[in-house]
């Protein structure tokens, strides 16, 4: 059995009457890039806080890098890096001083710290501006620096809470490339929360889907796609009315139905046929010009899961 970086059993956390995390049982192998997917308020940040030993579980247990989160939070925090909901950068300080502070916190020897700062900032294209106060930087640059910070001391485990949130698509793509490069070179376990499915698909070799504190599925992106996504069918044509969409959504074979850029997008359950649905569309007054079918994306799987869970 592969060595585990994280192991939780029935981990539960309630805030007054709200159950933020509900009986989470999870295993994250060491060295994996693990995507923790869920909509806002799903319990992703609470999970990270619990795993770092920042807050206590209401019930259940968790071991991170072999340490108990309830009693050995100090050990976990010493051996991991975390980019939480906010960048955590000191904006009055320079980029170099931000990294130097956290390098000193991690007790890195000065020579090694100097070398590592240069290596990371050069890799991220920030070296020339290392002396500037971070407050003067663009959001994309700040987020790059924020990602460099938890990787600085080469921890065995890195938590990244929505690292590309709020960035424009170009900056997010660039950051993803940097993150993939840094992760593969460093060989650390990465626990990444996101609601960006493309990001999860690109970076993660294992993903879990969570909604309202409950774990809905765990597996590799390919595994999840084949397990839950069914096929994605794109229909070009005209007259796709709201009433038609409502009828299609009620159909037993349809997981999702929506109109995007004038095209009808259907996510069908595994083994479902398209022909009966085309009949419904025509009967409802629609015109079908072209039908294309393919494997659903991770986003389709995610949305299907959210919809099915919501129906339940």
């Amino acid at each position: 059995m592969a060595e585990l970086a994280i192991r939780t059993q029935g981990l539960t956390r309630t805030f007054e009457k709200v159950r933020a995390l509900d009986d989470l049982t999870l295993e994250v192998p060491a060295g994996s890039v693990f995507g923790f997917l869920g909509p806002n308020g799903a319990g992703k940040t609470t999970t990270i806080r619990l795993l770092l030993g920042l807050i206590e579980a209401t019930s259940g247990s968790a071991q991170v890098l072999g340490f108990d989160t309830r009693t050995q939070g100090d050990e976990i925090r010493a051996r991991s890096g975390a980019l939480l909901e906010h960048s955590g950068l000191y904006e009055r300080l320079s980029a170099e001083d931000n990294l130097r502070f956290y390098g000193r916190v991690a007790r890195m020897p000065k020579a090694e710290l100097d070398q590592r700062i240069q290596e990371l900032l050069t890799h991220l294209g920030l070296w020339d501006r290392r002396k500037e106060a971070v407050v003067k930087w663009s959001r994309g640059m700040k987020q790059k620096l924020a990602i460099a910070r938890p990787l600085l001391h080469r921890p065995g485990l890195v938590f990244l809470d929505e690292p590309t949130a709020g960035l424009d698509p170009v900056a997010a793509a660039s950051l993803r490339d940097d993150l993939a490069g840094l992760a593969s070179r460093q060989g650390a376990t990465i626990f990444l929360t996101t609601h960006n499915m493309a990001e999860a698909e690109k970076l993660c070799n294992l993903v879990a889907v969570i909604r309202q504190g409950k774990l809905l599925a765990v597996g590799s992106p390919t595994d999840l796609r084949s397990r839950g996504g069914g096929q994605r069918t794109e229909i070009a044509g005209r007259g796709f009315s709201d009433a038609m969409l409502a009828t299609l959504r009620q159909h037993a074979d349809v997981s999702q139905a929506s109109v995007e850029n004038g095209r009808l997008i259907l996510v069908l359950k595994n083994g479902a046929g398209v022909a009966p649905l085309v009949s419904i569309i025509v009967r409802e007054g629609g015109e079908v010009q072209e039908v294309r079918s393919g494997q659903g994306s991770l986003e389709d799987v995610f949305l299907t899961m959210m919809e099915e869970d919501h129906k339940e």
Binding site: F15, R49, L52, L54, I55, E56, G73, D74, R77, A78, A82, L83, L84, E85, H86, S87, G88, L89, Y90, E91, R92, L93, D97, F101, Y102, R104, V105, A106, R107, A133, R149
Partner: protein, 246 residues
Amino acid sequence: MNADFITVLWKEWKEIVLERSSSGAGSYRPLILIAVLGVFVPFRMRPERFFSPEQLLLPVFLCAFVITAVIADSFAGERERHTLETLLASRLSDRAILFGKIAASLAYGWLISIAAIVVGAITVNVVNWNGQIAMYRDEASWLILLLGPPLLGGVVATAGVLVSLHAATVRQAQQTLAVGFMVLMLGGVFGSSALPAEWKVWFARMLLTWTMAGLVLAAAGVVLAIDLALLLAGMARFQRARLVLD
């Protein structure tokens, strides 16, 4: 613990200095305070008055005043700028964070009050030059000089950190501190005037039996006890889970 304490102190010091050097008129504030208390006030003063123990109360209160402005930012500022949770998610111990923040603000206030005293001493000597250097000569003055800023500054820093731990914003922390100190001062003034006359006489007679140095040491002992009580309260209030969820 020591290395972590120094690391937090280093970061806090940089932030305090950079905040004041990057905020326009704010960057001159410490210099203005030093100029007023170190040049303007001593300029017309005779050396015997300047080097009296009572006159030292001014720089001691300057230290407390400067710390009030800085300490409000300690935790409330981190919370406001969303850096607190990242700091708490590091391997730093609770004590290293707490003591590092208190020590940085204390050092800043102390440095400014010492600078005001040194500049003041130079000013008085230059203005009243008679071929001899005037200096503090009595024990009580040296005790106030050495113990006053750290002990009174310590009360402000530890009380300030307690307020800052609770406050949602820096402004809220500053306002709470200002109101708190005003209530304390007014309470002291009105409270002492409300005391029965025979108590006041007894107290005055008792004070007259003490030397000035003895009085300073007794006052220092009381202030030190308050320092320690506030520090213990701060340590008890510093709970990561509460700070993360606040």
